[in-house]
Symmetry: C2
Subunit: 92 residues, 2 copies
């Protein structure tokens, strides 16, 4: 998962577009399971949103990282619209 | 969820005891759903573990926070064995 804050104001049309486009583009990558757009509400955490997804194994995660849809989303949207973020990779 | 790092070394008997006791004590609180002990593996994130759980609604979350088992776990174990942590509260 990644938790992040956008350069757009919360609730703005641009923020909603980013969240919707991210969900549409990233959840369509075949190895991605259970994609969720989340809102971060703890006042003790300085991020506004989360994208959460699951991968079957390390190979699936690497296929996601290398997938053209992920790469272009990162370059065209993430790097231009995300003000700050924290990546968190969890295994059980 | 909370991501955290313990004052004990990774893989130590004390670290394992903390994770197991946390899972046992916190998952037994009736409002807690889908409790998971997780290991954080991203080199870009400076925490080693995660405790993840779900709540039906805000009332359930507040019941958890106020529950004696949670309160005593925080005072007796969390405050003495956790070196640093980040709370993250996500809603969809």
């Amino acid at each position: 998962m990644a938790i992040f804050t956008l350069s757009h104001p919360r609730g703005s049309r641009e923020a909603e577009a980013f969240l919707q486009d991210g969900a549409r583009i990233l959840s369509a990558i075949p190895v991605v399971r259970n994609f969720e757009v989340l809102h971060q509400i703890s006042p003790k955490c300085d991020f506004d949103y989360g994208f959460s997804m699951e991968f079957e194994n390390q190979e699936a995660y690497e296929a996601y990282n290398a997938h053209p849809s992920h790469q272009s989303f990162v370059q065209e949207r993430w790097e231009t619209e995300v003000a700050r973020f924290q990546e968190i990779d969890l295994v059980n």
